[in-house]
């Protein structure tokens, strides 16, 4: 089934599945943060998306923007840490200009990711190549823009794939931000945990629309 777009109710259910996926990724993400950070990323993301799940159980949402804002707020309020600020900002900033959208289209997806990226960068100052989640988010946003005219079910897998490649590229980066910075070359060979989270979120979205 090649879904063109998702209505609000389907988008809500999709993010419930995303939440399940992120909660289930707790150990994986913790392991990644253990390698080059302080081992709390998976714990934080799991806590954050458990809060998201609770929030999403109370529909309806009036717009894509409202849905994303609700997700971002749940993350912000529950997570803390660098990733609470960053992922909260991704969703809240990404939804800011989608308060008139009644469906999640590929164009809306592109706006979500682009605006989210901009908000994240404004918040934390990370640029491409700093070995942060920006290294997955930026190529994902670009891929989404390139496929903004395609059906969502075709665009999302490509966007997720772009994020995945971005994650892989972080292996070759030395961190210029966050707890991994002082690792220097010891960070080489390890992917950035926040980048991995961006990919996992997009992959769960892609799986939902392709299912």
């Amino acid at each position: 089934m090649d879904r063109e777009q998702l209505d609000l109710e389907s988008a809500r259910v999709m993010f419930l599945r995303v939440s399940d996926a992120m909660v289930a990724s707790k150990d994986l993400l913790t392991e990644l943060d253990r390698a080059i950070g302080d081992s709390d990323h998976g714990i934080g993301m799991a806590r954050g998306f458990e809060a998201v799940r609770r929030e999403l159980e109370r529909p309806p949402f009036g717009s894509v923007g409202a849905l994303l804002h609700c997700i971002g707020t749940a993350l912000l309020r529950s997570m803390g840490g660098a990733s609470g600020a960053v992922f909260g900002t991704l969703f809240r900033g990404g939804g800011a200009r989608l308060h008139d959208e009644r469906a999640l289209t590929s164009a809306a997806l592109a706006r979500f990711l682009e605006d989210g990226l901009e908000a994240v960068q404004a918040r934390g100052g990370a640029r491409t190549g700093d070995k942060t989640m920006v290294d997955a988010l930026e190529p994902a946003a670009r891929a989404a823009r390139a496929r903004a005219g395609e059906p969502l079910a075709r665009a999302l897998p490509a966007v997720a794939e772009a994020a995945r490649l971005g994650v892989e590229r972080t292996r070759d980066l030395v961190a210029r931000m966050g707890k991994a910075r002082t690792l220097g070359e010891r960070a080489l060979g390890h992917v950035d945990p926040g980048a991995a989270s961006v990919h996992l979120i997009l992959r769960a979205m892609a799986e939902f629309v392709s299912a």
Partner: protein, 333 residues
């Protein structure tokens, strides 16, 4: 991992329950359970002093709420910055109308969450100014000081800022004093073993038997180098070699020294180290006028130590001498 907890995801909640009960003469929970405030906060006529950070560093951060010190702290999960909302609620809990000095450490998460909290505060008309601690020398070169982490120097920053506020200082005066305090501090840590987050269940990183991580951070962030373990004296020398030239500390100066265990270090060993630190400083003509030796800022069950040296002037000395009372530090009047 043999440790003491119930649900590993609820260690902070469980700790707070015990803490609030034991120290009910000193602190109370705010409406937001992740904010611990002075029992009398907001204290009329006084600038509010706020800090916050991840848990697992006890007695930091919440142990420094008290008379002449911090008015409210935002409490994060283990090794995770508190949420923006918690920082904001801590501002509210501390603000008596004279503004809030938010004195915190330089970590990506804290920086972002404090910034967001300040936006919320602005909307509610609460004036907040910040000082960001960056006393950890090994975490960035001197030319990149603004990238350095905050470590145990934060305690001396709180002490000075807290005293300045208790003396009736304005927000600007408190901020200026706290900024001077942290600008006068240089710190370095040495890690002798890793720490384990209960919810993770295995060590956060690895320190081999017979090796130590020089320049380690409070979450096990790697430092300058991994070397073979040495004598206590050589450890002290190594730490001072990094710390002293950075300010630099020079003959004729007066300093405060804070030597903190990282959680699993026997108290005895801190004093062994301190004996050498004092010897070296004396030999360089640097006078220690205040010592703090103990578990002031820990990292769960990490074995190791941080050394902070702070250059003093009359204002800083007066602020350090000013009475305070808290779980983490008490200075008598």
């Amino acid at each position: 991992m043999n440790r003491i907890f119930n649900d590993p995801d609820l260690v902070v909640e469980d700790m707070l329950r015990g803490w609030l009960q034991v120290h009910s003469d000193l602190v109370a929970a705010a409406e937001n359970r992740r904010v611990v405030r002075h029992v009398r906060a907001p204290i009329a006529g006084k600038v509010g002093v706020v800090t916050g950070g991840g848990s697992g560093h006890e007695p930091a951060f919440l142990g420094y709420v008290g008379d002449g010190l911090v008015d409210a702290v935002a409490v994060g999960e283990i090794f995770s910055s508190p949420t923006a909302k918690s920082f904001f609620d801590a501002f509210k809990a501390a603000d008596a109308g004279k503004g809030v000095a938010c004195l915190y450490g330089n970590y990506a998460g804290d920086n972002m969450n404090v910034k967001m909290a300040m936006k919320m505060a602005e909307k509610e008309g609460i004036r907040v100014r910040t000082v960001v601690a960056n006393d950890d020398v090994p975490s960035a070169p001197r030319s990149d000081r603004e990238k350095r982490r905050g470590v145990a120097g934060e305690i001396l920053m709180w002490k000075v800022g807290g005293a300045r506020a208790a003396m009736g200082g304005s927000l600007d005066e408190v901020i200026t004093a706290a900024q001077k305090a942290i600008d006068s501090c240089r710190s370095i840590g040495i890690g002798l073993s890793a720490c384990t987050i209960p919810a993770v269940g295995k060590p956060n990183f690895e320190i081999k038997d017979g090796e130590m991580e020089v320049g380690i951070g409070h979450h096990g962030e790697p430092g300058i180098k991994v070397v073979k373990t040495t004598s206590a004296n050589a450890m002290a020398d190594l730490m001072l070699e990094t710390v002293l030239p950075d300010l630099p500390f020079e003959a004729g100066m007066e300093v405060a020294v804070l030597l903190s265990g990282l959680g699993a270090t026997p108290i005895m060993e801190l004093y062994i180290l301190q004996a050498r630190v004092a010897e070296i400083l004396a030999s360089r003509g640097i006078q220690i006028s205040r010592h703090f030796v103990g578990n002031y800022f820990t990292s769960l069950d990490m074995m190791g130590v941080t050394l902070t040296v702070m250059k003093l002037d009359d204002e800083l000395k007066a602020c350090l001498a000013y009475p305070c009372r808290s779980v983490g530090m008490t200075v008598e009047g």
